[in-house]
Amino acid sequence: MELDPRRVAVRKMLGRVKRVVSVVSTKGGVGKSMISVTFALILSRRGYRVGLLDLDLHNPSAHVILGECGAPSEDRGILPPEVHGLKFVSIVHFSDGRPVFLRGGEISDTIVELLSVSQWGSLDFLIVDMPPGSGDELLETIKLLQGLEVLAVSTPSKLAREAVEKMVAMLEEMGVRVVGVVENMVPPGSLGERDERVLGKIRFDGRVEEAIGKVEELLSTDFAMDVERVVEAYLRASNIRRGVK
């Protein structure tokens, strides 16, 4: 007999987290991190209790977008620091900003380990920034986090779109709740075109790059305005009414 107590610990640590939303894509560089962070910030500004988990262990970037990473404290595990109102957990809290080289097995193990010590407390939403693809990080979170929801990010490119649609279909077959596909980096001119298949469209906004690391500036961009519409569509689609928590 060999029992791993960490998996039970994960369930307990996340016991008071109402919804977990993972932001995924088959492709890299489509805006998952920008969208995760902005999505989390907008929910938090609306009065929800929000956590942000960066599971891109090889290339963590949420802390760069937030402009700071905070420092966790210890109490029967790790208490995530509050960064711009978000409870924030990232590998950078442990890697000291150094590069992380890990193979798949260790990636899975690190995720279990990280989640078994992080004390989220009670949260309305935990937003998870994922690395690209459908590898260990995605499979491990699906296995570990019951009731996981997925927000898939695509771009108007055929290369992104077809693959993301296939990924979404597969996730649904696996019983994962896909809240929708968002299309990012849409040329501002074609934002108005209706598309049943997407939850929302987000403009390509030249101001985004400049706003990285500056939360207030980021939230004032057209990009954030479009993400806000995605947040609203998400809340509506999930039957979450304002004020009802």
């Binding site: 007999m1 060999e2 029992l3 791993d4 107590p5 960490r6 039970v8 610990a9 307990k12 210890e74 109490d75 029967r76 595990g77 790790i78 590998i91 442990f94 890697s95 000291d96 150094r98 590069p99 992380v100 080289f101 890990l102 193979r103 260790e106 193990d109 690190t110 380990e113 990280l114 078994s116 010590v117």
Partner: protein, 135 residues
């Protein structure tokens, strides 16, 4: 304080198991804890006993064995253990490894060839390997 988080996971797992097996009492548990976790054994055992109070595991016997670590380089095959490199690590680095043993290659390289591509084949996890119950 990591000891408490690990102990909590252990006690919860035991109680779940006890429930599943319809046990009246959990009499004894044997655990193997990886050396990389650098757990304070006294504190850990104390936490286990405290957390078991008021449950079917109250008063259980606890045996904690620290498993020595073995790292094995995937590039050159060199094997070594944490003792041999621990001295060179700072307090914060040790602290990070204590929480996330898998982070080791961020701070330690293979003493043989300098690669970070090595496996921690022993001494990382926390395993409950024997539970004695009264049914």
């Amino acid at each position: 304080m990591h000891e408490w988080a690990v102990a909590e996971g252990v006690v919860d797992t035991l109680l779940e198991l006890g429930k599943k097996e319809r046990a009246k009492r959990i009499v004894r548990v044997k655990l193997r804890v990886g050396e990389l976790r650098q757990i304070e054994r006294d504190l850990f055992e104390f936490a286990l006993r405290e957390l078991a109070k008021g449950t079917i595991a109250e008063g259980m016997g606890v045996e904690v064995e620290v498993e020595r670590s073995v790292m094995c380089c995937r590039v050159c095959g060199f094997k070594w253990s944490f003792d041999e490199v621990k001295e060179k690590l700072g307090e914060e680095e040790n602290e990070a490894i204590h929480f996330l043993p898998d982070i080791l290659p961020v701070y330690v390289k293979c003493p043989g060839c300098g690669s970070v591509d090595f496996e921690v084949s022993e001494g990382r996890g926390v395993v409950i390997w024997s539970v004695e119950m009264e049914k």
